[in-house]
C-alpha cells in the first residue's frame, strides 16, 4: 500500500523569498495558460500517450490538470489535486490507460513548464536558479501525488473486481424448500472463506433453511486456515438453527485434514453431493414427521 500521507500532511516548507518566487511563477503560468496547455496537449499526442482518448478529451483533461497543477503550486496543498487525480483515474482506468502514461503526461507538463521558465528567465541566470529551486520540489510533489493517486485508484478497482469475481464464484442454491446447496469451486483464501460464510448465513435466514450441503468437490487444496474457516461456517450455521453436511472431500484433502490435526468431529460429512442431498432429505423428512403429531407415523 502506498501512503501519500508523508508529503501531503504539511504544506510546502517555504521561506519568504520562496513564497514570492512561487507567486511570480504562478502569475506567469496563469498568463500563459492557453499557450502552455496547448503545447502540453500537443506533446502528449506527439509522445503517443493517452492513445485511448480523443484529442478533444485530452485537451479537456489537460486544461483541468493544468489548472489544478497551478493551484497546487500556489496553495502548496495537494488535496484538491489528489481528489482530481483520483477522479480522473476512475474515468480513464476503465479505458485502459496505463500507469506509465499518467506518469508520462505529468512529467511532460513539468518539462513544458520548465522550458517556459527557462525561456522567460534566461537572461538572469541567478534568478532562474532561484525560480527552479522554488519550482522543482513543488513539481516533484505534484507528480508524486498524481502518480500515487492513479496507482491507488487502480489498486482499488482491482480489489473491487476481485470481489465481484468472488461473489460470482460462490452461488448459494436453494434446491428445495429449506435445503440449500453451496458448491465451492477453486481456491479458498481467508477473505473468500469469510465472504462465503456471510453469504451462506444470510441465505439461511432468507430461505429459512434447515439443512445446508456444502460441496467441496471442486476444491483442490485445503490448509489449516481454510479448514478452520469451514468449521466456523458449520458452527455459525448451527447458531442459526441449520445443520450443515459437507460433501466431496477428496482423498488428498481427507489426508491433509487428518495429518494437520483439524478437528472435524463436529462436522457432518458424506462422500458425494448425491449422498449429501439424500442425507439432507432424511433430516428434513424426519423433522416434518416428528414435529407434526397428525402425520402418518405408522
Amino acid at each position: 500500500m502506498i501512503e501519500p500521507e508523508a508529503y501531503l500532511k504539511e504544506p510546502l516548507p517555504a521561506g519568504e523569498s520562496d513564497v514570492m518566487l512561487l507567486r511570480e511563477l504562478v502569475a506567469h503560468l496563469r498568463r500563459n495558460r492557453t499557450q502552455l496547455r496547448e503545447e502540453w496537449a500537443r506533446r502528449i499526442t506527439q509522445a503517443q500517450l493517452l492513445t485511448a482518448m480523443s484529442k478533444d478529451e485530452i485537451f479537456k483533461e489537460a486544461t483541468s490538470v493544468y489548472d489544478n497543477y497551478v493551484e497546487a503550486l500556489e496553495t502548496g496543498t495537494m488535496e484538491a489535486l489528489q481528489t482530481y487525480a483520483r477522479d480522473l483515474s476512475e474515468r480513464i482506468i476503465p479505458r485502459g490507460v496505463e500507469t506509465h502514461e499518467v506518469v508520462g503526461i505529468v512529467l511532460l507538463l513539468r518539462d513544458v513548464l520548465a522550458r517556459s521558465l527557462f525561456a522567460k528567465y534566461q537572461a538572469d541566470f541567478a534568478l532562474l536558479n532561484c525560480i527552479l529551486d522554488a519550482y522543482e520540489p513543488a513539481a516533484n510533489r505534484i507528480a508524486n501525488t498524481v502518480a500515487v493517486g492513479f496507482v491507488q485508484e487502480r489498486e482499488r478497482i482491482i480489489m473491487e473486481q476481485q470481489e465481484a469475481i468472488r461473489e460470482l464464484s460462490t452461488p448459494v442454491l436453494q434446491v428445495r424448500e429449506r435445503l440449500l446447496i453451496l458448491p465451492i469451486i477453486g481456491a479458498i483464501d481467508p477473505h473468500r472463506a469469510r465472504q462465503l460464510t456471510e453469504q451462506l448465513l444470510g441465505a439461511i435466514r432468507t430461505n429459512r433453511a434447515k439443512v445446508v450441503v456444502i460441496d467441496i468437490t471442486g476444491v483442490a487444496v485445503i490448509d489449516t486456515n481454510v479448514a478452520n474457516h469451514l468449521v466456523q461456517t458449520v458452527e455459525a450455521s448451527r447458531l442459526l438453527g441449520a445443520t450443515v453436511i459437507v460433501t466431496g472431500l477428496s482423498p488428498k484433502i481427507a489426508q491433509t485434514l487428518v495429518t494437520i490435526g483439524v478437528d472435524l468431529s463436529k462436522m457432518n460429512t458424506v462422500g458425494d453431493l448425491q449422498g449429501g442431498i439424500e442425507e439432507a432429505e432424511k433430516l428434513l423428512a424426519y423433522k416434518v414427521i416428528a414435529s407434526s403429531p397428525t402425520a402418518d407415523s405408522a
Binding site: 500500500m1 502506498i2 501512503e3 501519500p4 500521507e5 483520483r86 491507488q152 482499488r156 470481489e163 456471510e198 478452520n228 468449521v231
Partner: protein
Amino acid sequence: MTNHRESAPRRESLHGVWRPGPVVRAEDIVPIESEADIVTARQRGRTLGAEVGFRAGELALIATAISELARNIVLYAGRGEILLTKISEGGRIGLLIAASDQGPGISDLTQAMRDGFSTSGGLGLGLPGVKRLMDEFGVVSSPGRGTTVTAKKWKR
C-alpha cells in the same frame, strides 16, 4: 514498557503490527467503571462505526470486540476507558478502538495471545479472539502500570 508484537513484525503486515499516525477525524471516549458501561461502549462504537459506513456484519464484529475489551477492563482493572476514533490512511477509512486501564497489567503477553484457535468461551482475556474480529491489533502492557489494547477495522 514492553511493546508486544505477535509473529515477525513485518511492516507491510496488517496483523499484529501497530502503526501510529492516523489522521484524526472524530472521536468518542467512553469511561468504563462498571459492567453497565460495557453496553454503552459497544453502542457508541456501533454508532461511530455506522458513521464510518461499515456494513451490518462489520458493525457486529466491531461491537463484539468492544464488548470483550470493555469487559477485560471491568474484570481485570476495575476501571479504565475506551477511545473510539474515526481514522483515515492512504485513501481508506476505518475505526480505531483503544482500550486502556491502569490495572495490574499482563505479565505474559505471549501467553495471553496464545490460547488456541477455538476457545470454549469466557475464560482468559479473549485477546486472540478480538484480534480475529479486527484487521489490526496491538497490545502494550506494563505489569503494575496498566494495559492498552488498540485495534483497527478498515472499511472494505
